[in-house]
Symmetry: C2
Subunit: 248 residues, 2 copies
């Protein structure tokens, strides 16, 4: 977990401009954004806040609870505001906006990508308004009862699926060596063993999942994301009772 070459942390730094949960969460997020998940620690956070490690525990129960709040904070802008064509007859516009907003949030905090996906277990760290909004839009579109549940779960899964892996971060240790080695291995693919891959290599290399050596921060997969969303929306529309109502 890359310990050696970090600045030695002795005592508090800043004169502590009064602590608060707000400040604790915001500072934690900024550390994770800058240095990554592996480098984040409760002690490092305390140091950044200018207090003793144990002071943080006045505001959060433990590390996991804090991380849940950090995720919630990072996701605070995902719910589209009221004015997004919610009642304008096209539910697909609202969903596309939602998916895009989630992607933006992860894009801004890629080091949190894995946690953001995982946090969807429960509403512990997620705005309950998000749930109500999705349900409202799907209801208005014509989903109800059991079909509403299934559509809801599909929407949440679609929202997190692509983006979680698009921005998943590689081991922080020796990123450059790791990337170089991977790049080499990919270009050395055996055309006899993997003919389709070899034939399409220039198109796929560093632009397709698994066959990459950089993630969405360096190489965003905008086109594929668009297609993915399109696939989901088209599929959802076919799920509606009366065939495809309200064509976009």
């Amino acid at each position: 977990m890359t310990i050696r070459q970090r600045a030695k942390r002795t005592r508090p730094e800043r004169p502590a401009e009064t602590l608060s949960k707000q400040r604790v969460v915001a500072t934690a997020l900024s550390i994770i954004d800058r240095e990554g998940m592996d480098a984040f620690s409760m002690r490092g956070l305390a140091q950044a806040l200018g207090v003793y490690p144990t002071a943080v525990y006045w505001y959060v129960a433990n590390r996991n609870a804090l991380l849940a709040e950090v995720v919630a904070h990072a996701l605070r802008d995902v719910v589209p505001p009221e004015d997004v064509a919610q009642d304008l007859g096209d539910w697909t516009v609202w969903l596309k906006d939602l998916f895009g907003r989630y992607r933006n949030a992860v894009q801004r905090h890629p080091n949190l990508a894995a946690l953001m996906g995982a946090q969807m277990v429960s509403n512990a760290g997620v705005n309950p308004v998000l749930v109500e909004k999705i349900l409202t839009v799907l209801s208005a579109a014509g989903f109800k009862d059991e079909r509403l549940v299934r559509a809801f779960n599909s929407v949440v899964a679609v929202m997190t699926g692509f983006v979680t892996i698009e921005f998943a971060t590689a081991p922080t240790e020796d990123r450059d060596r790791w990337a170089a080695e991977l790049k080499r291995a990919i270009h050395a693919v055996d055309a006899r063993e993997h003919p389709v891959l070899a034939r399409n290599l220039p198109r796929l290399a560093n632009r397709a999942f698994i066959v990459r050596w950089q993630n969405g921060i360096d190489v965003p997969l905008d086109d594929s994301f668009e297609t993915y969303i399109d696939v989901a929306i088209k599929g959802l529309r076919q799920l509606l009772p009366n065939g495809r109502r309200r064509v976009s």
Copy 2:
């Protein structure tokens, strides 16, 4: 990270029936399966193997590298065998089988769910045969060039999306208290603020993402998963050039 109440580990246990990378990876996986991600440590692993902590480093470069191998091992059976109706004209059957196999793998190792999704960045820990197979099936279905790349990325994202959050594990600490509190909060939802949620609560409670207090191990979301896959397949089919060729 729940340290206190664990058995004190002093020295090696077993007389070490000769170490090997195989044994290191398999033992690591079994520890993670039994005790969860938080409880896994290099030192605990060494103890279980009956060797000194540093002996493990002869077989793996570091913790992250080991975890990548553990994920690869857990995913070893995801690629459908040759005989699955691959060339029988219906590419959707093969894809559905693939998605089901991935789900089974995660279901067997839920504590690894978050890592499994994240590992799709690169082929470091993933079988390259998987890539070739997906490309082959999609090519045969009619996807080519840029469309092939987009379809491939969509397929991988669909494969991991639902399942990653379905089996995401809650903080290991105080699971029962956490679940009880969540259950209470969900049932106490304000019908004025969240009318659609309140109206559909019996249907959604513990059966919809975010509105859950248990995960897929305790409450599998089979129906929703089926719908989700259906949505993806239907959407993918509409992506094909000549409309819907090869109807299932």
